[in-house]
């Protein structure tokens, strides 16, 4: 009940936000929601099913390039393109999963495999001249005052609402998954795979499903990225720092929880941005201050709240362990 109220208040606040915020706050909020969304997608794999991916930039990048290429080269809009993006990412995720789970690769070695796939895709895209190679792929930019939802061209307010809808959709999906048969099976696999098998769970199949869902969700973030930023560089979008930034939110907020990834993403994005502004205001030029800040936060959370920030908050306000 309390969780529902909180959710309602949060939703109302987020819907009303563009009414009384400037373009800067709006872009910040969009960024926070972007990481809340990708964090939730990653959380399906790691938080629910216990499969650590350090290569989620692969799915962001593939999704972004697929939708952008279809739009730029063939004039196919993002609503059609996203299905191609999703299919491509599910195929890539399935390839990784099939390889790893078939040969019993798990834990750290699985994480290394995900990094490897993201890295060689990054290097591969540097050599695809048709898509601009290292020079990048660009969508036409223009000052827009109207919404063209069909082609995802419009004002920052439109992009904010698109990202808000995606994040809310992801939240609903995750809440439903966690309470379904899949959610129970994934958690069992996460806790003890041998015991899960002995209870009749085909762990290979269910782990593969977790990867596929996570990849499909993340591909949507890629499509959004392409149409929001209008430029794609392999060095940026497939880079491991992208993957790391995706997982910081859930780790700080609480891996495996529903609210954790959202809370973590909002906290990190706003705090990091405030810090950058503060440093800029003092006139100092410290490159990389954001990364150092992330490092410090991560250290503190791991030392003092190894389960993330959300679980103790949930306990304190009686919001239920799973919420």
């Amino acid at each position: 009940m309390r969780a529902r109220l909180l959710l309602g208040a949060l939703g109302a606040g987020l819907i009303a936000l563009p009414q009384f915020s400037g373009s800067y706050v709006l872009s910040l909020a969009t960024l926070a929601l972007y990481f809340a969304f990708t964090g939730q997608a990653w959380n399906v794999m790691m938080g629910f099913a216990g499969q650590l991916s350090l290569g989620h930039s692969l799915f962001v990048g593939l999704g972004a390039y697929a939708a952008a290429a279809l739009f730029v080269k063939f004039g196919i809009g993002p609503w059609a393109g996203l299905w191609v993006a999703m299919a491509l990412c599910v195929a890539a995720g399935a390839a990784i999963g099939l390889l790893a789970f078939r040969f019993g690769i798990s834990g750290v070695y699985f994480a290394l495999l995900t990094i490897a796939f993201a890295e060689f895709t990054r290097i591969g895209f540097d050599h695809i001249g048709w898509l601009g190679g290292p020079g990048g792929l660009f969508l036409k930019v223009g000052q827009r005052t109207s919404w063209d939802l069909a082609n995802l061209r419009g004002t920052p307010v439109m992009f904010y609402y698109v990202m808000l809808a995606l994040t809310a959709g992801a939240f609903a999906l995750c809440a439903w998954l966690l309470r379904s048969r899949a959610g129970y099976y994934w958690q069992a696999i996460r806790e003890d795979e041998d015991a899960a098998r002995a209870l009749g769970i085909n762990t290979f199949r269910w782990k593969l499903l977790a990867v596929a869902i996570s990849a499909a969700m993340t591909s949507l973030a890629g499509v959004f990225f392409a149409f929001y930023y209008n430029n794609l560089f392999p060095e940026q979008i497939f880079h491991i720092s992208q993957s790391i930034e995706i997982i910081l939110g859930p780790i700080v907020g609480g891996v495996g929880t529903l609210f954790g990834p959202i809370l973590g993403a909002v906290l990190l994005t706003t705090l990091a941005e405030s810090l950058t502004n503060l440093v800029a205001a003092t006139g100092l030029d410290i490159p990389g201050v954001k990364q150092v800040f992330y490092g410090v936060i991560l250290l503190l959370v791991i030392m003092f709240l190894p389960n993330g920030i959300w679980p103790p908050i949930a306990k304190r306000f009686g919001l239920g362990r799973k919420d």
Partner: protein, 240 residues
């Protein structure tokens, strides 16, 4: 008719012969105990029956169908539930959720699985602890949870790997009562056990394993008087 039939089963690990041509049967509705000293190969036989390893030679027939070489989840789906000697609770999940995972084998929908799981928790006296995280349970309760989870999958045959070990005599007797009830209800049980108190109270048939070979089998009272069994447990008898 035999529900489980172990036919001339052998298994080696890097040249070490863990089990050599073991054969025995578990009749439908029976309660059979597999006993023997540490390292006799009992758990190896269990793991082969549960699909953890494939045997090097021999056959395992369950309800008229070969199950050797199947994966653990397929063996479970065929109707064999098992517990682990070293308990493996889903530590981060609640007691009830642990059992729901097992119940989802038979009941695909969560609400039905939940009510099925609640019934099983009651049967094993864990009802009051259903909302606790499994990590907070004591060892006897963890053993009970292990049994509850396996039962929830709706097995025809239950494999129990030393569930009495580490329990106090009264706790042991309680669990014996639970197994006797389950057996009366038609469940076939094969148990590995060191606690002779439980074996003598429960088993209708005892199979004795030593160095991977079956050295005796029969009724419990008869087996404990068998010279070969006494020798492997207590050492050779000498005249004084």
């Amino acid at each position: 008719m035999a529900l489980l039939e172990i036919r001339s089963l052998s298994k080696s690990f890097r040249g070490l012969r863990a089990v050599t041509r073991a054969s025995f049967q578990v009749p439908e509705g029976g309660l059979v105990a597999l006993i023997g000293p540490n390292g006799a190969g009992k758990t190896t036989i269990f793991n082969m029956a549960a699909g953890v390893y494939a045997p090097d030679a021999g056959e395992i027939v369950f309800a008229g169908r070969r199950i050797d070489g199947l994966r653990p989840d397929q063996v479970c789906a065929a109707g064999v539930g098992r517990t682990f000697q070293v308990v493996k609770p889903f530590a981060g999940m609640s007691v009830l959720d642990n059992v729901i995972v097992g119940a989802l084998r038979a009941e695909r929908r969560v609400p039905e699985a939940r009510s099925h799981a609640l019934g099983i928790l009651e049967k094993l006296n864990l009802g009051a602890k259903r909302d606790l995280p499994a990590a907070s349970l004591t060892l006897p309760d963890r053993k009970r949870l292990e049994v509850a989870r396996a039962l929830a999958t709706g097995p025809r045959l239950l494999l129990l790997d030393e569930v009495m070990a580490g329990l106090r005599p009264t706790e042991c007797d309680q669990l014996v009562e639970v197994f006797r009830d389950l057996n009366r209800g038609g469940l076939t049980i094969l148990l590995i056990e060191h606690v002779m108190r439980a074996v003598m109270a429960l088993a209708q048939h005892v199979v004795v394993l030593h160095h991977g070979e079956i050295i005796a089998q029969g009724a419990p009272e008869q087996v404990v008087r068998d010279p070969a069994v006494l020798e492997c447990y207590l050492g050779e008898e000498t005249d004084v």
